[in-house]
Symmetry: D2
Subunit: 142 residues, 4 copies
């Protein structure tokens, strides 16, 4: 895991995620972000399914990706992730994507996403519930 991050998920670039430039398509990175977020929540906060079952939906309100170098089919990637801000109904994830080989890791992209929690029934903004905020704060202070 990269320094300053609290969780990392590994995956291999799928052939379907490449495009005719011969590299991974720029939209694939948002899917990888999501895979890492889901994994983070599963590890620290009981999982995205639990959050939804408790009546909360987390919407994505902003996404940002900086592509630092081309990524190819079958590359092994490590998606480093942390929650860097958490207040009221909003929280932010930061990401660093690295290509990993036997002995080293090379940054290939970074960025962040913003999210807002809403009540599933009314779709109105709702504060992150205490149990979820506390679970994330524990993860980030570890």
């Amino acid at each position: 895991m990269a320094e300053g991050f609290s969780h990392a998920t590994e995956l291999s670039v799928r052939f379907a995620e490449t495009d005719a430039q011969g590299i991974a398509h720029n939209a694939s990175y948002l899917v990888w972000y999501e895979v890492a977020r889901v994994d983070y929540l599963a590890r620290y906060a009981g999982g995205y399914k639990l959050i939804r079952e408790r009546g909360i939906e987390a919407l994505t309100t902003e996404t940002h990706v900086r592509y630092l170098g081309a990524v190819y089919f079958d590359d092994r990637l490590r998606i480093n992730v942390r929650v860097s801000d958490l207040r009221g109904a909003r929280f932010r994830f930061d990401y660093l994507i690295e290509r990993v080989n036997d002995d080293h890791a090379e940054p290939v992209a970074d960025g962040w996403t913003l999210h807002a929690t809403v009540d599933r029934a009314t779709l109105r903004p709702t504060r992150l519930p205490d149990w979820l905020r506390e679970a994330i704060e524990r993860a980030e202070s570890a």
Copy 2:
């Protein structure tokens, strides 16, 4: 529109739909099938939204694609479609995908999909309602 078909939808191959072989990815064709189905239902049966609002969900139970030739970024495609079978809770769409140019159309794929209608609340199989069956039969006998 190709002979024997009752509806056709045109679209251009998106860059995101290609892969590192330089051609459209094999899964993209199922999305194009769907675009043509949605368009067919909008034209003849009040639209997919109306069907769902009336408490019916149409599940996809089988898909088949035969790839006849490579398809490239920005190719202009015509997705020909017809309903070829319709009984009880099941119906079948047939497809012929052509690449169209100024003066001719060249087949690049064909296939079919099977669907089953279920009650949205119970998810139990439910007969295609008469108004929908009749709308489709009118379209196909025109």
Copy 3:
């Protein structure tokens, strides 16, 4: 077309672009950006294919999306686009996505992407060729 933009492309949200939240998935917006860019280049600069044939590849180096409201299956969207910066080997597109109905347009997302031109053979950064820069400048000053 929204004020301040030089081109707009319309499309309908595909069912495949939605997710289990019942809304369009956040990665779909990057694909719509791309559809609008391709359309812009086709109209003003001879098309993306021509650019590639002339030995230039345009890489995406940064993407940003701000999601202003949920977008649903079959929503009609207008992707407004303009080139807002153009220097050396780098250029920037700005976007405004609106949901359009009979009589009005409602903003649902905005953002921007950065791109760099490279020589296709060497993959080294290469200045935007004059013919392409001039075509874009003409489009933007119209």
Copy 4:
């Protein structure tokens, strides 16, 4: 691994792979097939990259999926795969997709894909090279 299959790959359903019906989209299954094929070739035949480096491209010429039951976000799936036919320039993969839980596996889809090998330079059909055919035959007779 299911009886009669020579390889299996596990994955979890991504949120991006679901649609507004609340289940995995029908096109996602073709991507999972591909993930399993790539994994099969990596294990038994030196990998898809090696095959391409040796001047061979494998095209997908036919795909078939039978959806046996709904698949949901985060479901754990096992994609069982085998090569069931192999002659000249053509080969066929069979698939069985199971949802796996602690103590049992439930079939959720099955199907097959056909492929043809071509020379990367000329794109003409070319017999599967002996080393690749023998590697696959060893895998399947094990």
